[in-house]
């Protein structure tokens, strides 16, 4: 139990640090947020949000590994992979309050720091600084998304693969290859072949 408590403390410190990158928050200000946060724990391979369900939470990964996918023609298309410090939830469903067409599922056992839709609205109502924080975070998310989208359109499969490997080598160790291939929109065979190429180069 003691160990778990200290890991929550680490997660909360991490969150404070993460938020302060956007807008400096004093300890007292950060404390104001705590009553609105929920800690949610899941085993590996558990569906956190199902298709057709309305997303209730905004989640920050405190520990673990999570993916989001769409069902496409009988298969699963991975659209996001999230590790510690990342935000993952079914955004369209959360903001528009409509049934989710994507699934959020854990890959490893995962702990989320979550905030419900209603709590988030209350926070925005009560604290103008949180409104600003929200604007700055969503701005950053959008800018990153735009960059990612631009890369998808501009780069070849091979370039996308190489870029990803260069910038996300830690993911290669943790994420099953089929999910990575799906995320990069590459056939699993192509993924293996490209990976092999890199290993040859190193040798």
């Amino acid at each position: 139990m003691g160990k778990q408590k200290s890991s929550y403390k680490t997660a909360l410190d991490g969150l404070h640090h993460y938020l302060s990158r956007y807008l400096p928050l004093s300890k007292a200000e950060f404390q104001l947020l705590l009553p609105y946060l929920e800690i949610r724990e899941y085993d590996k391979k558990v569906k956190v949000t199902r298709e057709g369900e309305v997303e209730r939470y905004f989640n920050i990964v405190a520990r673990g590994l999570v993916r989001k996918y769409l069902s496409v023609r009988g298969g699963e298309q991975t659209i996001q992979l999230a590790v510690e410090g990342h935000i993952i939830h079914s955004e369209l469903s959360f903001f528009y309050r409509t049934p989710s067409n994507s699934v959020v599922e854990t890959i490893e056992p995962t702990v989320f720091l979550s905030i419900s839709y209603d709590s988030l609205e209350q926070l925005y109502e009560q604290f103008p600084r949180i409104e600003r924080l929200g604007r700055l975070i969503v701005t950053d998310l959008f800018v990153k998304k735009d960059l990612h989208y631009f890369d998808q359109l501009r780069k070849s499969t091979r370039e996308r693969f190489l870029d990803y490997i260069r910038t996300h080598s830690h993911m290669l160790q943790r994420v099953p290859q089929k999910y990575l291939a799906s995320y990069l929109n590459i056939k699993p065979e192509t993924f293996s072949r490209l990976k092999h190429l890199i290993q040859q180069k190193k040798g």
């Binding site: 496409v72 298309q77 659209i79 969503v138």
Partner: protein, 219 residues
């Protein structure tokens, strides 16, 4: 490009008799996100400039930093980038919509995109500096900013989902159903680029659409 200064002086009403209608259109757009008081809306309107462009005029070039957020009151514009020498269109905007090099505007980094008018166009624009001032002075305008950017994010997310879920033909049909007006106004090669398909494929699909329905169903 013809740029008229700030909107407040009544003098500009002679130049732009449609000014009230333009501001109404903007207010209508904003009311989809938050409701502003008359004072709040006036403080925003005070910061706007009217910008008019001929057709095929550039609002921003590749490599420049986007300084404007533009609300299109009349006309048609597109956003694109060059992949080798081909233009890849990522947005087509019509009346009542926003267009700019959004990530560059929000981050202050050079734009990989160009924004260009398709038809002669008029915009209500605001600079980044003026918008920041508004955010400082009004929490509700800050909220408007947060919600509008969230929508940009969600639109992009939705588009990505569509591209993954729908095949070429489905994407075409979905677009036609939702944008019959653009089918009339926008050159076919632009629409094909926006939908990420070859112009030939676009023509073939359009042809299918024009045949009697029963024939389409056979496919």
């Amino acid at each position: 490009m013809r740029q008229i200064g700030r909107l407040t002086p009544g003098f500009f009403l002679c130049l732009y008799p449609n000014l009230f209608r333009m501001l109404d259109a903007l207010r209508q757009y904003i009311s989809g996100f938050v409701s502003l008081t008359n004072e709040e809306f006036a403080s925003l309107a005070d910061m706007l400039v009217i910008r008019s462009f001929e057709k095929k005029e550039l609002l921003i070039r590749e490599g420049e930093v986007e300084n404007y957020l533009n609300f299109l009151v009349k006309g048609l514009a597109r956003k694109y980038f060059y992949k080798d020498k081909a233009e890849i269109i990522t947005q087509i905007a019509r009346e009542g919509e926003l267009i700019n090099s959004s990530a560059s505007f929000l981050s202050g980094t050079p734009s990989p995109y160009l924004v260009e008018t398709i038809e002669p166009s008029t915009f209500l624009s605001i600079t980044r500096q003026q918008l920041e001032k508004l955010y400082e002075n009004s929490p509700r305008i800050e909220r408007l900013g947060r919600i509008a950017i969230t929508h940009l994010f969600l639109q992009r997310e939705e588009w990505e989902h569509e591209c993954l879920r729908l095949d070429t033909r489905e994407r075409f049909l979905h677009f036609v159903q939702n944008n019959p007006d653009l089918m009339q106004r926008v050159p076919q090669k632009f629409l094909a680029s926006y939908l990420n398909m070859k112009p030939e494929t676009f023509s073939r699909l359009k042809h299918l659409l024009q045949r009697p329905r029963a024939t389409v169903r056979e496919k």
